[in-house]
Amino acid sequence: MIEFKDVGLVYPNGTEGLKKINVTINDGEFIVIVGLSGAGKSTFIRSINRLVTPTSGSLLVDNEDILKYRGSDMRKLRTKTGMIFQNYNLVKRSNVLKNVLAGRLGHTSTLRSILNLYKKEDIGLAYESLQRVNIAEKIYNRADELSGGQQQRVSIARVLTQQPKYILADEPVASLDPPTSHQVMTYLKKINKEDNITTIVNLHFIDMAMEYADRIIGMRAGEVVFDGPVSEVSESTFEEIYGRSIREDDLRGGADKS
């Protein structure tokens, strides 16, 4: 369970990234966060694994205030929260297997990982993860030889290999075309259901949010302006979140193609 209690974040330059956020995220939920560019979606998500540190309030993950974490606690926190990025963030010159094994770093001692002494189970797990996102045949390809959609699948496999309790995905489909976007979202949803991993995804696209989310959180200017199940969401909800009428480019489209 993740609980935001009056969480605020002011960046060093004075920008208020988050303002008094109060949100509770239950285990197993699939949450989509929507909001305009600059609304604070990334700041919200990155607070959960402490890539950024809120400056006020308390943020509980499994009943522990992670804002107090330092050093090894932080490593434990990050080991149980996997992250997926817009730009895949793979090591382009390394092969797919090596990239996926990086998901085990938090579970592996420094010496073992530097000597490449991964446990047999870890390598097995990496391979299994690649199979789950249907990309096992590229295991020895260099990451930069893959298409964007394939790279994002590899990064999902990396997160699966990490065996996290939570998955944070920051605009995972923003660099992909509509059919590939749906493929990636479908994998995320499937993993959420099969492994019961709580998943929080930032999205720009209203139609995708509606299609995949259990619950939608709307953000504007660092504040949560909507929080509720998909069944309560209508077009006017989005107009409220965005503070303007809905446009063509707020939709990804192509749902039927996947």
């Binding site: 996997g82 992250m83 963030n89 090591v91 382009k92 010159r93 770093l105």
Partner: protein, 271 residues
């Protein structure tokens, strides 16, 4: 302002560079030009004999050096190998020492500002000392031989390598590093898995390049007593034994060309 004359509409097109930049560049250009002109006239005055004197001198010198004495080749081969070994040892040690220094001198890895600034400054200082001065100092401290030469080369190449490699590190893609950090990797794991693969080809290439420089530098260092072929060359010149000296020069020439050729080929294959 330049485009206004030939455009039909009176719309104002902005210049590519702001006026201030233009002025700065113009001033710098003329200052540099002035320095060139001044130093040209100055050297003309200093060179009393001019180029014609140098030319006749050259024929005299060439006459003395030829033909080279091929008989000494077996005797000078040993010192030549010593010189190469000197360069190999110095480059290897410098390459190892470079790693921590380059990491500390890279702004994106060493986020603790004071540490980064101290390392940077140290490396800058290191690079201001000419290799020849280093050699003279170490020969004074440790006596004539290979050891002071190797020390001088290590420090000399460390200055260049650490600087170039820290710049390579600063230009890497930081995204994978963030991903590894987000998955619970510690500093060493992040560097090893996300940074090293990105800089390894550049690193190897730069080390080979510095090795090339070191081969040439170690010859010159020999002249001031730091062992190897340069020392022998200096002795032969001291004895006015020009045919022997010529043979040494030819050997150095051949070896340097061969090593540079091989190293260039390897570096091409890497990048």
């Amino acid at each position: 302002m330049t485009n206004e004359t030939n455009s039909t509409t009176p719309k104002k097109v902005p210049a590519i560079y702001p006026a201030k930049t233009k002025l700065q560049v113009t001033v710098i250009f003329f200052v540099v030009l002035g320095i060139y002109l001044f130093s040209m006239s100055w050297t003309q005055q200093q060179m009393a004999g001019g180029f014609s004197g140098a030319l006749s001198n050259m024929f005299n010198v060439i006459e003395k050096f030829f033909p080279p004495n091929t008989a000494v080749i077996s005797a000078i081969w040993g010192p030549m190998v010593e010189t190469i070994q000197m360069a190999i040892i110095a480059t290897t040690v410098a390459a190892i020492l470079t790693v921590p220094l380059a990491l500390l001198a890279a702004e994106n890895v060493t986020t603790f500002k004071p540490l980064y600034i101290v390392t940077r400054t140290f490396l800058n200082l290191l690079r201001t000392i000419p290799d020849l001065v280093l050699a003279v100092i170490f020969v004074g401290l440790f006596g004539i031989g290979l050891f002071p030469g190797i020390l001088a080369l290590i420090i000399f190449s460390l200055g260049i390598l650490a600087k170039l490699i820290s710049e390579t590190i600063e230009s890497v893609d930081m995204n994978p590093l963030e991903a590894m950090r987000a998955s619970g990797g510690n500093v060493f794991q992040v560097i090893w898995y996300a940074l090293i693969p990105q800089v390894l080809p550049q690193f190897t290439s730069l080390v080979l390049y510095v090795f090339e420089i070191n081969i040439r530098a170690s010859v010159v260092l020999g002249l001031v007593g730091a062992g190897g072929i340069g020392l022998i060359l200096n002795q032969q010149l001291g004895f006015y034994n020009y045919p022997n000296a010529m043979m040494i020069i030819i050997l150095i020439f051949v070896v340097v060309i061969a090593i540079e050729y091989i190293s260039t080929k390897i570096r091409e294959a890497l990048l």
